[in-house]
């Protein structure tokens, strides 16, 4: 069958138009996707900024509202600079309570957390009542601390006899 030039021309034009249409469609689609990506990035930035503003505002209010509590809490953590004062205070109290006190071990354990720990071992000697009072004092030291061990050695049967005690106190130290 004979193909006329006109048919060929129509075929070529149709093919070119088809390719152009397909190409244009893909171009438009890619362009929309690209601009959509940019829009997404802007939206994320705006959302993050808004969220950050909101969180900042909330945190500011929270910090202001809890300042007194936090400051009070802060006083219950022994500061590194106050260690010597604390030990001196303990010795003064022991003296007032008529208990012989000696510091056998003083060791600082460094941790990765906000708080290091100070491990102190005291040796006490005195009457049963006084030594037990001192132990109670160690247990209620107004710092974040724990009495990890107590060893009491009673020599006599009467309460007037002196007793020996060894107490280990672990106190949290504020690194800040």
């Amino acid at each position: 069958m004979h193909i006329t030039k006109k048919t060929k021309l129509y075929f070529i034009i149709a093919s070119v138009l088809l390719v152009l249409c397909i190409g244009f469609s893909f171009f438009i689609h890619r362009h929309i996707a690209h601009r959509g990506g940019e829009l997404l990035a802007y939206i994320k930035t705006v959302a993050e900024y808004t969220d950050r503003e909101q969180k900042y505002s909330e945190l500011s209010r929270l910090i202001a509202a809890t300042q007194e509590d936090r400051e009070e809490l802060h006083t219950y953590i022994l500061k590194r600079s106050e260690t010597i004062d604390f030990l001196a205070e303990v010795e003064e109290i022991a003296k007032a309570k008529q208990v012989e006190l000696s510091t056998d071990r003083l060791e600082e354990e460094v941790t990765d957390t906000q708080f290091d720990t100070l491990v102190v071992t005291f040796a006490l000697r005195g009457t049963d009542k006084n030594v037990r009072d001192m132990i109670r004092i160690f247990e209620t030291v107004p710092y974040h601390s724990t009495v990890t061990s107590i060893v009491i050695t009673e020599k006599g049967a009467t309460q007037e006899e002196d007793i020996d005690a060894v107490i280990e106190l672990v106190v949290s130290l504020n690194n800040v």
Binding site: A14, S25, K44, D51
Partner: protein, 154 residues
């Protein structure tokens, strides 16, 4: 004479028996038309799907907001109050246990320093101007009376 019906019948017979002659035509308008329409529909369909996908994706801006919001550590107020209560109690007990009685104040007795005038007398004299004037007058009178006899101060 062969009429038209006979020719058609013969041709149908031949086509049926020979299973048709091979079609040697390059162009089949109907086929090409159907192919063209099919391609057109395919392009329209694919384009429509892509456009619809883009439309659905960007239709609702709020739905795009899949931002990983920052987590703020929560302030545990209950735990803080519990801890504060615990430490306040500890502090109270500690202060009770370490409370030391203040040393008793011994009263200071002031002794006589000048003549027969005690410190208490001096204080009481100083409280009133009259008494001070009187005291000074007495001292002046004494000095005047003793000036004739002995010289007290040189």
């Amino acid at each position: 004479m062969i009429d038209k019906k006979s020719i058609i019948a013969m041709s149908e017979h031949v086509f049926k028996k020979g299973k048709g002659y091979p079609d040697r035509r390059l162009m089949h308008p109907r086929r090409e038309w159907v192919l063209g329409v099919m391609m057109f529909l395919t392009v329209i369909f694919v384009g429509g799907v892509l456009a619809a996908q883009a439309y659905v994706q960007y239709r609702d801006i709020e739905a795009l907001e899949e931002v990983a919001l920052q987590q703020v550590p929560q302030y545990n107020d209950v735990a803080v109050q519990n801890v504060l209560t615990l430490f306040r109690e500890r502090n109270t007990i500690y202060e009770d246990l370490t409370y030391m009685e203040p040393a008793p104040v011994t009263p200071v007795t002031l002794e006589e320093t000048v003549g027969s005038t005690t410190a208490q007398d001096m204080v009481s004299e100083a409280e009133t101007d009259e008494s001070v004037i009187e005291t000074e007058d007495v001292i002046d009178a004494e000095l005047e009376t003793q000036e004739g006899g002995e010289l007290l101060f040189e």
